[in-house]
């Protein structure tokens, strides 16, 4: 993205975490949109076989978290891990058979989510320690003061197509546009943590549930209509939020594939370009072996 940033002045911090176990309760079942009980995996642990560029929906999963789900055991330290980790930051494994291999942050959910190349992922499991090189919070676009950027590494900004246009707007390429009606769980929460579940993406269920979002892919950069994520997450007509799809399939009602927030500002500050290649897979993990 051709844009002037303050990246030279951003702080980089070294954070640690571990791959957190998948969690369940003894009752097992949760409830889907039509009242269907389900027991489905997806959250926590190391989820294999789903990477950036792959479909976000269509799995027998709930709150599918691609790759490694990472947090810190200490509450306050976990706050730093969750709030300061940014999409595109490098994640290095420190223990286990995949020690030394690297992946990248693709977003936040209840965890920091990190995607690793397929051969690396199969050697990762719960409890493996990681180091996150966190940088990006505080990133500003000097020529676009109305746009608030968050959770976005300077490297991701550099890699994205677009940039400051001749008319002064910020050109951003997006793989999908999301209507305000799709915003589900996560509204009202802070926007430096977790993500916004999108409803209307339940393939195979009723038409009355669909908002046309069944073809989203993990890693897609998307535009959320009428959403203001500058200071949290809320509805504001005339605003746009740019996010990256970091989680996939949900059967829990009111939930769905979710974008982690990257940018937010008045719609007039953006020039959106529809581009099916606007996906993290276009910019990360060319090296399938995961070498640093």
């Amino acid at each position: 993205m051709k844009v002037v940033t303050n990246s030279a002045r951003l702080v980089t911090q070294v954070l640690t975490g571990e791959v957190w176990p998948a969690l369940a309760d003894r009752h097992g079942y949760r409830v889907g949109p039509d009242g269907q009980p389900f027991v489905l995996p997806g959250m926590g642990g190391m989820t294999l076989g789903v990477h950036c560029g792959d479909p976000a929906t269509g799995y027998a999963a709930d709150h599918l978290e691609p790759g490694a789900s990472i947090r810190h055991r200490d509450h306050a330290a976990n706050g730093a891990v969750q709030f300061l980790s940014c999409v595109g930051n490098q994640v290095r494994l420190e223990s286990g058979p995949a020690a030394g291999q690297v992946g990248h942050v693709i977003g936040q959910h209840a965890y920091v989510l990190a995607d690793f190349p397929g051969p690396v992922g199969t050697r990762i499991t719960t409890g493996d320690a990681v180091t996150i090189t966190a940088t990006g919070q505080g990133l500003r676009l000097a020529e676009h003061p109305a746009i608030v950027v968050k959770n976005c590494s300077p490297g991701l900004i550099d890699a994205m197509p677009g940039g400051t246009g001749a008319d002064g707007r910020l050109e951003v390429h997006v793989a999908a546009r999301v209507p305000a009606e799709a915003i589900g769980a996560g509204v009202g929460m802070i926007s430096e943590y977790a993500n916004t579940d999108l409803m209307g993406a339940y393939p195979g269920l009723g038409d009355d549930l669909s908002l046309g979002l069944e073809s989203l892919r993990v890693g897609d950069v998307v535009a959320l209509a009428d959403q203001d994520h500058r200071y949290g997450r809320g509805y504001r007509p005339g605003y746009v939020t740019i996010g990256v799809i970091s989680t996939g399939s949900c059967l829990l009602f009111g939930h769905g594939p979710g974008p982690s927030t990257l940018m937010s500002g008045p719609a007039g500050a953006f020039a959106l370009v529809d581009d099916p290649l606007a996906n993290l897979a276009s910019w990360y993990h060319d090296d399938q072996e995961g070498h640093p």
Partner: protein
């Protein structure tokens, strides 16, 4: 009517069929919540300004059913006392099983013996909002015990059209609200305000039986929104609240406005859902000037 049960003050539960099963009442204990804040006094409003939240839980004085949801410069202020329980699972049970209209009796403290009623509930960790007469409320303090005679979840009024679901409402209270069943298996409901799904906020994706749904409304948005009072019925279009709350086209959910506005983005006045069903069977009439929803007199709080 073989399952007739009459209690001295309670409405006759036997007037209602519950899927052929007899409804159960359970006395639950709630403790009046103390307001809580974190290490920082500040929250950040939708425009990025820090503010100190007041009224977000605990006992709030000077706010009553019938007041505007924008009456106070507070954050989720509810008219009465919020009840919780120190044991997490018991707190969830309190929030799940209490229904609007359930009788609440103060057991300890200076207001012991005072009677009130559940007027709503709130989400996150679970809170029940109990309303009392102003004089009784003024004598209460956080930690006082309140017993709630819970009943209503799972109860299905016999006159309710088959495609509709009632929740979070005392069986004796629903018929007192501006709802009327028609011959063609539909229900007419009068509300203060109809809100589109895109205005639904915090509470989406959460269980409708224990959370409220915040509406992203702020004062000054419009005359209809500004007219919203605590206790009013509100309809949200394209929202299904049978299980979790979420988007479903051509569906309608009716809720009672139970707490005031919030400066937080994605938050606002909250409704506790009481009816949900397909639009063709749940006919909504918006009445921004003459609407009467849940009132103090209906709950014996005057």
């Amino acid at each position: 009517m073989s399952a007739r049960i009459r209690r001295s003050e309670a409405a006759p539960v036997s007037a209602l069929a519950a899927g052929g099963h007899r409804p159960v009442e359970v006395s639950l204990l709630g403790l009046i919540e103390h307001a809580e804040l974190g290490d920082s006094p500040y929250r950040i409003d939708a425009d990025g300004a820090p503010y100190v939240p007041a009224g977000d839980g605990g006992i709030v004085l000077g706010l009553r059913l019938g007041d505007s949801v924008f009456a106070l410069f507070g954050d989720h202020a509810a008219p009465g006392a919020c009840l919780t329980h120190p044991v997490e699972a018991a707190r969830h049970a309190l929030a799940l099983y209490c229904c609007i209209g359930n009788e609440a009796v103060v057991r300890t403290g200076a207001a012991a013996g005072a009677r009130g009623a559940v007027i709503g509930k709130r989400g996150e960790n679970g809170r029940v909002i109990a309303g009392f007469r102003a004089g009784d409320l003024a004598r209460m303090r956080p930690g006082d015990q309140v017993s709630v005679r819970s009943r209503g979840q799972g109860v299905r009024p016999g006159w309710l059209p088959a495609s509709l679901t009632a929740l979070n409402i005392d069986p004796g209270l629903l018929a007192g609200l501006p709802v009327s069943a028609d011959q063609d298996d539909t229900l007419d409901v009068a509300v203060r305000l109809v809100v589109p799904a895109r205005m639904a906020g915090n509470g989406l994706g959460r269980p409708a039986h224990s959370w409220d749904l915040d509406l992203q409304l702020a004062s000054g948005q419009g005359a209809a929104e500004d007219a919203l009072l605590l206790g009013d019925l509100v309809a949200v279009t394209d929202l299904d609240a049978r299980y979790n709350m979420g988007y479903r086209r051509d569906w309608v959910t009716i809720g009672v406005a139970v707490h005031g506005s919030s400066p937080l983005p994605g938050h606002g006045p909250g409704i506790t859902p009481i009816l949900t069903g397909p639009r063709h069977a749940l006919r909504v009439r918006e009445d921004s000037t003459g609407h009467v929803g849940l009132t103090e007199s209906m709950l014996g709080l005057q």
